[in-house]
Structures are given as structure tokens and as C-alpha cells.
Amino acid sequence: MFKRILIANRGEIAVRVIRACRELGIEAVAVFSEADRGALHVREADLAIPIGPAPAAESYLRIERVIEAAKQAGAEAVHPGYGFLAENATFARAVTDAGLVFIGPSANAMEKMGDKVEARKLMQAAGVPVTPGSPDTLETPEQVREYARKLGLPVLLKAAGGGGGKGMRLIEREEEIADAVRRVVSEATASFGDGRFYLEKFVRRPRHIEVQIFADSDGRTVHLGERECSIQRRHQKLVEESPSPFVTERMRERMGEIAVRAARAVNYVGAGTIEFLADADRNFYFMEMNTRIQVEHPVTEMVTGFDLVKAQIEVAAGRPLPFTQEQIVQRGWAIECRVYAEDPLHDFVAAPGRVTLLRAPEGPGVRHDCGIYGGGEISSFYDALLSKLIVWGKDRPEAIARMRRALGEFSVAGTLATNLSFHRWLMDNQRFIEGDFDTHFLQQEYRPLDGSPASSADHSLDDPARLAAMLAAAWSAQYVSGAVGSADATTPRKPSAWKMAGRIEALKS
């Protein structure tokens, strides 16, 4: 086993990997930018190496600097986390070339899955269902029109080098084709340096369901069941769960088998995820493979009981998979809420700032994977993910009730905003409770300012909660006059011109 691992990441995932290292008796090396000297992953690590200025391009994304840090620290292996360099084949190769172990799949497998069009072809050859679409990349709007007619509108125009919802356009009418092509090419060129595009049939009422797979270097490949990830905004996942309320036992088995087949097709090693799109009839299609640990891996950990990050490290060290397919049994239900520094009342706009006070939920069935602390500053340079709140319950209703309870214990106060009120809203939403949702759910259902106190007439101060808040504020601001120790002073001694103006941003819960 390794003695020392460098974690080429920051935030909650870096802390997550540090914890895995600790439990394996491995020393964890953090890297940090100038903005992150006081970040949690630096505080938690055994060793910490500065790697450059605040912008990620000048620090966390600098391959040679990260490898230099690994050598300087005497690390034997590098864990990339997710994001940053995690799916960068050049980085994986550079790590290997430097004589270090890359904790992840081969650069080759990454590259095969990184090109969406090549991956589709490979998957089709391996017998993995893909969405009907153009067999290859297209060149002109005319070709797009031709295939759009074959497939039937609506269709999705997608960048071949894309992923994560970028470089993608829905085409509902033929007139939109020219503009869609122009915008996809421009976005894709800017974002991935690759302007190629292809066409896919648009799946109606799509659910995003993915399967966690795991493989060791001897070719043992297993799946760990599915995750439901349809609660999204702008193609970004907000809430995930395992199992999926939509997936039947038969569908689970088929998805698992097919996911294992997909992984084997690229000789995959380590933790990976096969993302599927499922339609209302429970047909499912390969979307893409994520060749890294996912943000939402904890829900799988909680229902299977296996620590996937520790398993990544074990497999990278050449050990066999620590679980067989037979040992993997889903038990109960897990839900994850991603806590972002963003304002759910104003279109989820980014809302960085200082975390002055933080109170996190605890108790039965609650897991908190956190990347921040009270007193810390949330920088606008990086991803807005602050922490992940994960709960486990014996069934879905218990998991939802527990998440509601845990969210009720969660407070983040400071100059930042968080999306906690969105999660509270979701846990009370009837469609979510019934499991009746697809990837368009949020767009259709979430109307945060409708019916909230801010726009209703329910503003009376005789609501004890509002009264209590006001009194606590008055006390804290020392705006309270009157006779200390005397209950009889009904006349204020010191009339004050203090004005309190309340803007109540409460949702119904």
C-alpha cells in the first residue's frame, strides 16, 4: 500500500480523500492556491504544498506544478478527485510518466470515453444501447436537417467533445437548426477547443439514471447499483438518490449488466459511472461515462456499505476489488443534497462570501461531507459546492423525513447565500415525495417566490417565530433600552430612531 498520496484537488472532495487516506494509514498531501492557504483541505492534510495563484488555470490545472508538488512531498500516488484534472488524459499520462501511480483509469480509457461520438460507436459495437442519432459527426446544417427528419423532431445537437450540459442545444423546429449549429460550434470551440458536433433524438420526460461500476486491474468488473440524478438545474445535479424510485428490479439488473459491459469495452480500471437517459417506458440509453469518482458517490456508499474512495486507492495499489458482485446488496435508501453557494430565490445565481457561522446537522442516519468551516471565506474562483448532506433511511419515506429533519438543523450564516431553502422546498414537494419527476422537474415546478411570505399577506408580527427573530436581532444589536432587572418599566427610557426593515426571504417551510 502507498505511504503517501497527493490529492490534486480542493474543497469537500479533497477532504473526503484525506479521510480515506487516514483510514488506510496513508499520509495525505494537499495542494493549494494562494486563495486557499486557509482552506479546509489544507488544515486537514498531513502535508500541504503551495502550487500557485488563485485562478485554477495558474494552480490546480497546472499539470507540471502538481506533479512537481507530488515529487517534492514524496508522494507515491495522485488522487485527482473530480473536476480540475480528473478526466484529463494528458495529466494521467504525465503522472504515470513521472513514476507515480494515477488513482483512476488508464489515459487510454479516458480518451476513448472523452470523445462522445467515438464513445457512442464503441458502445454500440459492445451492444450497449445508445440514443438514436447520427452515426458520426456532422459537418453542415443541411446534414443536421437530413438526420433531424430521419429521427423526428425534437432533436439534440451536441458537441462531440462536450459534457456536463455544455455545448448542447435542443432543436424543436427546423428553422432553429442554423442558429443551433452556429451556437454549438462557437460554445464547443471556446469551451473544449473542439467544434465537432452530432445529433441525437431528444428523449421526452427523460430521467438521468447512472450506474456506479468498479473494476480492478485483473479485469474483475462489478456494478454497485444505480443513482437517480434527475433533480437538476441547467444540467447541474442538485439532489441524487440511490436506489432510484423509477427503476424496477428487472431494469436494475439489465442496467447493471450493460454498465459492466460498457466498462469492459474500454478495459476500465477503478471507479467509473455509466450515465443513462431513461424514457417514460423505461427504455434507457448510454449518455456518457464519467471516468472518475462522482460528487454523488456517497449515496451508493450508504446503501451498499462500501467505501468507494478507499476502494479506488486499494485497486490503484494493485489489490483485488474489495467486493464481489454477490456481496453488493442495496440496503435502505440514501439521498444527497448538494449545498451550493448560490441564491435559489434569484435564479441560482452564484453567491460567494464569508461563512461567519456554520451549524451542521448530526445524529442518526446523517452524513455530512463538508469543505468549509465557520470563519472561512468562499472564493469566487472555484466551484460553488460547499458541502454535501447525505442521509440514509430504511426506505425512501424515512430518508426524506430524515433529510427534512437534517435540513432543519442546518444553518449557514454570513455574507454568502446557500441553496438550503431550495432543498427544504424539495423535501416537501408532493411530486418529489411520490418519485414523479424527470430532468425538467425543476424548471416546471420550482417557483420560489410564489406563495412565499415575501409576496403574501402573511406578515403579521404575532407569528411567534417572526417575533422571536426580531427580539433576538434587537437584543444582539443592543437596541434594547429599558430598566434592567425591573419588569415594571413600561415607558422606554431612551426612545430610539432605529429602524428595522425586514425582508423576509423565507419559503413556506
Binding site: 448560490e342 452564484a350 455574507t415 406578515h459 427580539l471 434587537a474 433600552s481 429599558g482 431612551k494 430610539s496
Partner: protein, 165 residues
């Protein structure tokens, strides 16, 4: 003391008095309420109104107090000395409105130009922060009177972006 609380446009006069070490009495509209208030830790307050228990985190930033509760209220902002300032992207504003950056970041695109008519809610500037592109929207319908930023520029929270008249 007497204080004036304005909640969504309605101003009320309140009387807040101390009762002993931990007690407060609040009077408004002829009704009185008593409560026990305890500062249990830095920024943390426990309040009992009758038998009902509430717990708040209070953070002060400038003249604004933000009260977060783990119960029914999500966030309650108090401003001292001035009436509530509407958030730049919320509400029906009228007259000349300055649209300011709600976060630090990099201006990716300016989608409005001087003299252009914009609808309420129409995007005017795109700011990249936290790896997301955040669209800043016009708080009211009107004409763009000024554009103060250009694409590529870095802005701080509160920096003036455009003026809508």
C-alpha cells in the same frame, strides 16, 4: 425603545423593553408579547416566546443584520437607519436604477448597449463566478442609460454594471 419596522412596505411602530436579565417585552398594535432571550454563544441566540423555543444565528455585515433560523424562517434581513433596499434583481423598480454586480467575478459578455430598450428580467450582463455563468437581469423595463463594464473585465461585488432608466 421604540422602533419602526418596515416589512414589505408596511411600517409599524414597536416598543421593545427589557425585563430583567434575559427578558424582553414587545408591544405593537396594543398587544404585548414577552420573551426570554439568551445569547448562548457568539452570534447564537435562544429565544423562548411563551413555551415556544426558537434558535437563531445572527450575523452583522455593515448596517445589516441577518437572522437565520433553523425553524420556519429561512432568512430575515434587518437594516438599521435606512429603509429596506431591494435586491438589484428583485421587485418592480421605477425611475433610474443602477444595476450592480451581486458577486465578484469576470464579465463574460455584455448583452445590452446604451440606448437599447430592455424588458424587465431581460439579461444585460453575464458574469462568470464559481465556474458558472450568471446572467444579471434588468430589474425593470426601460432604456439602458449607461454601460460601465466590458467583456473580460473583473468586477467586485457591488460594482456598477449598467444603468436602466
Amino acid at each position: 425603545m421604540r422602533c419602526f419596522v418596515s416589512l414589505d412596505g408596511t411600517e409599524r411602530e414597536l416598543l421593545v423593553e427589557r425585563l430583567g436579565n434575559r427578558g424582553l417585552r414587545l408591544t405593537f398594535d396594543g398587544q404585548s408579547f414577552e420573551a426570554s432571550v439568551l445569547n448562548v454563544a457568539a452570534g447564537e441566540y435562544s429565544v423562548l416566546v411563551g413555551n415556544q423555543s426558537f434558535d437563531f444565528l445572527i450575523v452583522r455585515a455593515g448596517s445589516e443584520l441577518t437572522v437565520s433560523s433553523r425553524g420556519r424562517l429561512n432568512r430575515l434581513a434587518f437594516f438599521t437607519g435606512r429603509p429596506a433596499a431591494a435586491s438589484p434583481t428583485a421587485g418592480h423598480a421605477s425611475g433610474r436604477v443602477e444595476v450592480r454586480a451581486m458577486m465578484p467575478g469576470r464579465v463574460v459578455e455584455v448583452t445590452a448597449s446604451v440606448g437599447q430598450h430592455v424588458e424587465r428580467g431581460q439579461g444585460v450582463v453575464v458574469i462568470e463566478a464559481m465556474k458558472m455563468e450568471n446572467e444579471v437581469k434588468a430589474p425593470k423595463a426601460g432604456t439602458i442609460a449607461k454601460v460601465e463594464v466590458t467583456a473580460g473585465q473583473t468586477v467586485e461585488k457591488g460594482d456598477l454594471l449598467v444603468v436602466v432608466e
